[in-house]
């Protein structure tokens, strides 16, 4: 079991990489399972781990519940449509459709709960570092890190604009004025982003930026890749046999 970490403390890079790698791995494996029993067990395990993370204070309970609810919004749509076959005048209950809906619901929840438990308490910076460590192409890894850095800046910008608009009497509602004002918010955020990009560009050129800087991340060692791939193959063939 993980020790209780405050959400701000970032665990060391290899642990991060392992957690994200495992989350991706179980997503792939669980989304191919067809045995309701195994999936139910995975759901239960995921829920227990997620609740444990919540008890440790890494994943606030309200955010866990909100995320479970949002995942199951789609599941609800599934149950509204899949088990019903429109035949003749009215909808007919279809056993096959219900079975399919059950499988999908279990998979969706098992994957979501497992990922929530594994990634509990990680912020965008940690995710970016972990993903870079998992062997993203270096330019993509840099795009990820830069995006995460600017997310905070622009979210702050949006908050200030929103506050300033409310200070001048804007109250959102379902009307034309709201559409116009929200478009203005969006345009302002984009303008802020573009103007900042201009400043970044100048700063880069002022520092005689010419060629690609050395990527900050180090590619994982080949044997780890081989081991990871082998484990994934072994796992998936095992699950294939079990289905």
């Amino acid at each position: 079991m993980r020790t209780a970490l405050p959400a701000t403390a970032t665990p060391p890079a290899p642990r991060l990489r392992l957690r994200l790698g495992t989350a991706v791995g179980i997503s792939v494996l669980l989304s191919q399972l067809t045995s309701p029993g195994l999936l139910l067990a995975a759901c239960a395990a995921g829920l227990l781990l997620a609740l444990a993370a919540s008890a440790n204070g890494v994943l606030p309970l309200h955010s866990l519940l909100r995320r479970i609810a949002s995942v199951n919004l789609f599941v609800a749509m599934l149950w509204l449509t899949l088990p019903w076959a429109l035949q003749g005048g009215g909808p007919q209950w279809s056993e096959a459709g219900a079975h399919h809906a059950l499988l999908i619901s279990l998979r969706t929840n098992a994957v979501a709960l497992g990922c929530m438990a594994l990634l509990a308490g990680l912020d965008a910076f940690a995710i970016a570092r972990a993903a870079a460590g998992l062997g993203l192409p270096s330019r993509l890894a840099r795009l990820l890190v830069l995006t995460v850095r600017y997310l905070g800046v622009l979210d702050d910008t949006r908050r200030r604009i929103d506050l300033a608009m409310r200070a001048r009497g804007f109250r959102p509602g379902a009307n034309r004025r709201t559409v116009a004002v929200l478009a203005q918010q969006l345009a302002l955020i984009l303008v802020h982003a573009m103007l900042r990009a201009e400043r970044v560009d100048l700063a880069l050129r002022a520092r005689a930026f010419a060629t690609a800087p050395q990527p900050a991340t180090r590619a994982p060692r080949p044997w780890r890749w081989a081991a990871g791939t082998a484990a994934l193959c072994l796992g998936s063939s095992l699950l294939w046999l079990l289905r």
Partner: protein
Amino acid sequence: MNAAGPLILGRGLRLARAGKVVVEAFDLELHAGERLFVLGASGTGKTTLLHSLLGFVPLAGGELQLLGRTCRSEQDFAPLRGPLGLLFQDAGDQLFGPTVAEDAAFGPLNRGASAAEAREIALQTLARIGIAHLAERPVHALSGGEQRLAALAGVLAMSPQVLLLDEPTTGLDEAASERLLGVLADSGLSMIVASHDPACVGALATRRITLAPAPR
């Protein structure tokens, strides 16, 4: 306007920023015609105080009456944003543009004015504070002093009864600063001015209070 009572009356206000109490047991009164300066080093809660007067920062304790009405929930505060006009510390945050005139029309439009009425109010306000020539300029192409005046025009266009000003002269050169203070004095409005700059207090203040650093 209720001529009898104070425009703003706070009793035992307790203000918190990011979960940390910055102002405790604070009493505040603003009467018609007063220009109250709230002084104090940065971090003493001046901005938090102004934002809490508009309901942007929920009160952690105490009782607040604005223009004679007790304010607790968002529903209480929302209609007062306009009668209480806030000038933010960073003018860039509150200029929505695209042009200065359209920005000044933002508030009147929110209060249901037609496009033509809002533009009329905007142009009158710009003329009143002497920046009519900036009307068609894009807001992002203004100097610091011009931005502050344009932002003030956006606040004044809502015909406020009280101005709340957050460090209005910070970052302005002497000429721009004097010009802004002149506009404020001419407005004849009651106001609360938060400042850490004693030089800006000048002849404008009718009363001043100092926020002490938060108790540890």
